[in-house]
Symmetry: D2
Subunit: 285 residues, 4 copies
Amino acid sequence: MSHSIRLLIACPDHKGITAAISSFVEAHEGNIVRIDQYLKPPPSRRFFLRMEIEGEGFSLGREELADAFAPLAREHDMDWRSSYSDEPKRMVIMVSHYDHCLTDLLWRWDTGELDVRIPLVISNHPDLAPRVEAYSIPFHHLPVTPETKVEQESKVLELLADHNVDFVVLARYMQILTPRLLEAYPDRIINIHHSFLPAFAGASPYQRAYERGVKVIGATAHYATEELDAGPIIDQDVVRVSHWDEPDDMARVGQEVERRVLARAVRRHSEDRVLVDGTRTIVFV
Amino acid sequence: MSHSIRLLIACPDHKGITAAISSFVEAHEGNIVRIDQYLKPPPSRRFFLRMEIEGEGFSLGREELADAFAPLAREHDMDWRSSYSDEPKRMVIMVSHYDHCLTDLLWRWDTGELDVRIPLVISNHPDLAPRVEAYSIPFHHLPVTPETKVEQESKVLELLADHNVDFVVLARYMQILTPRLLEAYPDRIINIHHSFLPAFAGASPYQRAYERGVKVIGATAHYATEELDAGPIIDQDVVRVSHWDEPDDMARVGQEVERRVLARAVRRHSEDRVLVDGTRTIVFV
Amino acid sequence: MSHSIRLLIACPDHKGITAAISSFVEAHEGNIVRIDQYLKPPPSRRFFLRMEIEGEGFSLGREELADAFAPLAREHDMDWRSSYSDEPKRMVIMVSHYDHCLTDLLWRWDTGELDVRIPLVISNHPDLAPRVEAYSIPFHHLPVTPETKVEQESKVLELLADHNVDFVVLARYMQILTPRLLEAYPDRIINIHHSFLPAFAGASPYQRAYERGVKVIGATAHYATEELDAGPIIDQDVVRVSHWDEPDDMARVGQEVERRVLARAVRRHSEDRVLVDGTRTIVFV
Amino acid sequence: MSHSIRLLIACPDHKGITAAISSFVEAHEGNIVRIDQYLKPPPSRRFFLRMEIEGEGFSLGREELADAFAPLAREHDMDWRSSYSDEPKRMVIMVSHYDHCLTDLLWRWDTGELDVRIPLVISNHPDLAPRVEAYSIPFHHLPVTPETKVEQESKVLELLADHNVDFVVLARYMQILTPRLLEAYPDRIINIHHSFLPAFAGASPYQRAYERGVKVIGATAHYATEELDAGPIIDQDVVRVSHWDEPDDMARVGQEVERRVLARAVRRHSEDRVLVDGTRTIVFV
């Protein structure tokens, strides 16, 4: 199959909005291969749409789409963006000591399951350099202390800018980001938390799950926001545990859930399937 | 919310098909509240669509839609149908001895979870009459023997016709239907089978699951076709079992899965979310 | 199969404890049909055991077991109890408006899936009387206002005592119990909460789950304690939701999880499969 | 914690069997840390037991246990075996082209999640040598043609014998083993099949699942026997799919299930948690 163009739109609902968009596509010889649409119920009635258009035959060039679509977007007060399936997003992974999420992402990237580019990996610890360099991906060690935190985040921001990064994955990165970094990449920093949020936000969720005696543990992938573990949730999943499971066992089976949930969230984000609506996400699977 | 109109369409893919349909809706003052669409990959490239249009404001009357839409349908070689959310489908349940699926459906209907009408229940055994009549639904006892089978099915067909029935649910009805009945309601007879098909098609699936030593059992809701347990699958689900589970235990936990799967299939069918494509279904959830 | 005797034991771990117990059983001609055992890891090293002994052939009468076992229990500092599978526990259901958990429990009781006696149902509202009386179970309406709460709970306690009740199920009973009632039935009052605790403890969990934008909702059966929704968890389960699910949809699919989780907890409690260890439970499934 | 001794027993049920075994352990100063037991219902009434005894303090040496236990084993007609938790089993992985199961097992072994030794990996293709050698595990390439099959299996048998191998994992090994190899390692060759058996035994299960239109796909780990994909099942799991999932997508999400199921089966086998009873397994989790 040739490439496709992805159109992501959010706007107030109007009669004829779908007709207007699809007529625009048709007018430029485009063939719609997939539409996903969601109309938020009253009182909001906000309209969300993801459209995939076949690249072959579409008469608008990559430089022309924005200008051509602008009048329609203005008329309907649209938030919108577009992307091309043959221009994979540029993703940076940030990591600390735990390697399971990192390794899993690199593996899925290596097998082609994740269609992204990974220009670099950043860590506040040197341990995982060999793991990353085995894939010929540059590894940047930026140690963080309370004193150097601000300075090091500036370096992170520089690296992200230098490499034209689209989104960041915190693969068990054990540092809280400052607002400056968060604001630079709104809805573009994906964190994995090792509990089914909002339960056990913060530190040591497996230990606390054990102490509370839950029978189900989980993991949550969400966009990072200033409030810790409170950003819009992209995906969650769980696994059953029993009285036999000590905190270590919970970590073991939980890490499998973390990997699965994070990979699913990254995949969906990288394919432009996720739209943020306040504290909630619309995920077109 | 007011009622909505559901448009179900299957046709060969053409450029502009979505634009054509949505322009038709807009031309008649319709507001699209939901689109679900599926384009079967090459070589088939068949296009499937489910559209919900707000009833309020739509300028075409219920008698007018078919004629107005006909030219477009012809032009694009569409299989299509429409329905109105305020005209619930008329559903008949057929049942034998096991009551769990019947009871569950009646209960969900009673609570409003299933938006259907149930003009009657048909059984080849008299046992469940009180269960049905408690809901003031007429119960028809049509006992079946090898000799009377053809005759009794004629009566079933008469009853279905007399009550203008839209679809039939075989809620553990333990008789094989004849082609005559199946052909009268193609893709409109839903059967629940107590295994994850294609495993354990036919008789005694729980016993056979026990003997095979599986660790997961399941249930399958599918459209009945001439070949036993081979029709297009609408929904399936499973539950874990262990060496502790004897066939009776499997039946107990399995019946819960049967109920859940059948209810989900009936709900989706009744909301026109299921399209059949050969041996497969497209289910817009 | 004949009846069986269930022995439930918790005590500090000692070498030879299993040998001592099984030798006791053997000395009285008992045949052990099932052992489930759990040794809490250090530093606690508390030993938990559930043993099923075949009733037939066991030489100790029902009146004799306690005296015969007392020396061993004393020697090993055991918390212990016994029960007989042919003496089903006496369970009272307390309910308010929502009927799904009540109906489900009655149904499972009626089909024999729950092996309990239900001497009465208590509600603070009159609505569900017909539902209960259809099963020939007495329904007691005890309306509660802030003024009458203490008095009405005294009546509840009387009813429970009069009917020699073993345990109580709060099947969406929308009143907070006073410590007096809770203390009278420690680890014997089962509550169902409509979230995966500890997330969304307290009121309106589905609404709050919607607002938080979770992708998984759940239900939790736990023993009621003074702190709301904080008692030892017996069972939990979850179901996936999406952006399409409004709070009402979450309630609909969530109620199915509530029913399943509560039924499982009740079944396990009624079969003496649950042992409480502080804030946690040991559940021998 | 110190090491533990695992005792696995299967025998006809007798009164006093548990007492006899636990008294034996006690007589040799052993502390039982875990008992799992299963009594197959009549008419079979076969007794299965797994016991973990604390190594520290147990007075029987590793060379002495067999002789000391023999009289009891004879008396009760036991099939039995023992193992020591500090003597990890020696496991050989056989693989062809697909690397996901191999990579997953190596990773879990590397992180310590799988407590086994891997003296070598055998493949009929050279492709995966670097993957294996990266972990400093010897890789043996034994290409198989119809002409060389018997000869090459002889070499496999030699390698297994030379390395004193306990069990073999077929991690998507695409050759059918001959009876000779199967009989040399009864209930000790674990195969992963990429369907929920008994559905889609044999070749191309994802393609066939797609064609049948199932809504759930799965994977099965089982002991290999002469009849293809018909051996005793150790573990199974499933994942939901939809009409969007082409055979390739099924393979992608299915491979995740394969990895999970195989890892769980290997872990349980390596910890002596699996007992085979004809076509079924007893798995003490």
